[in-house]
Symmetry: C2
Subunit: 181 residues, 2 copies
DNA sequence: TGTATTTCTTAATATAGATTAACAAATAAA
DNA sequence: TTTATTTGTTAATCTATATTAAGAAATACA
């Protein structure tokens, strides 16, 4: 989920499979049982839900160096909540092992540390996201997005940025219009 | 942050200090440098921010068995973003060590696993929270809160529940009124 | 116990953002 | 290319929630 160059150390070689997928490929469907994690070497993945009204809500964008995984389901062993698909042609590593098993007696201290750091970074990112969703206006959240993920806007359609921010494409268009003045 | 009985195994004895604090005690102020984590043995803590308009936003409630810590700041070594205080007289353990150092060569595999599980549970909780904030109405979020944290409503004033949900006390009062019919 | 303070409720009004719709612009497909 | 599809814009209208205000209820305090 976040940029962490030490990740290669963490990934447990024999459990990993490298893969190339085309833009549009769905890696995980809502309801899937066998949940995996994906490390992005090159390209761009995203995870998202579709609510009862059929509306998409993007949970994360995962560009180079990030990991996407459905923690909620992963930790509970329940079916996937999230869809995961490729927004660009992507080169990735599939991590099949349950994340808990990765912290096995066979992994080194350094690996475990990098692994822990990765989890903490995710929590930190989510903490910020929750606080912004609770206290900031759509415009403020958009401004924060531009700073925090400067390269994403050029790579995805605007409506996906709106979906990530939790607003409609129309609302984002209006905000951008206002910001130009 | 979440209920996990294995936590005692994780906590590294000599780094821990048990403490009793009175209701209202502030354990961490926004801007504090030396960030600690708190494990609640008995009682109730919360973490929260205060925005530019002076409005409080509760990030987590931490009843018995939970840990509160300011991950955002902890991981970056930056000053605390969150306040942490006691909503009831509380018995707690102060974890001074940086969380990364806890995953040292001295901790056992079991400890590390429990520790990892704890982090994953937090991510899982936050994932759900983000998705709810993005896609659900205030009433839906309140209903979810009642199910997920059934005992908290009896222990905190209603306005704090509102603050946790990201709505005003007036809005929550109205929602509760509607739900009685 | 009585008084002050905080919390909760209700209602009127305001506002950010949703919805709907229609069109323009860009991108993909034929 | 030309045409079809997706994406972005603008504007009118609607709705959930915020804001403001005032009184009632509960709680803390003297």
């Amino acid at each position: 989920m976040e940029n962490n160059s030490a990740i290669n150390t963490v990934l447990f070689k024999k459990e990993i499979q490298t893969k190339r997928v085309k833009k549009g490929t769905i890696l995980q469907n809502q309801g899937d049982i066998n949940i995996k994690s994906y490390y992005v070497k090159k390209g761009l993945l995203r995870s998202y839900t579709i609510d009862e009204k059929g509306k998409e809500h993007i949970f994360v964008f995962a560009p180079e160096g990030w990991i996407v995984s459905d923690m909620e389901s992963h930790s509970k062993g329940s079916p996937a909540q999230l869809f995961i698909d490729a927004l660009e042609d992507t080169e990735l590593k599939v991590i099949k092992k349950n994340i808990l098993d990765q912290t096995s007696s066979l992994t080194s201290t350094e690996q475990t540390k990098a692994h822990t750091l990765n989890l903490i970074n995710r929590i930190s990112t989510l903490q910020k996201r929750v606080l912004l969703l609770m206290s900031a206006s759509a415009k403020e959240r958009y401004k924060d997005f531009l700073i925090t993920y400067p390269n994403i806007i050029q790579r995805v359609p605007q409506k996906m940025v709106a979906s990530y921010l939790g607003i409609t494409p129309e609302a984002l268009s209006k905000i951008r219009g206002e910001m130009l003045k």
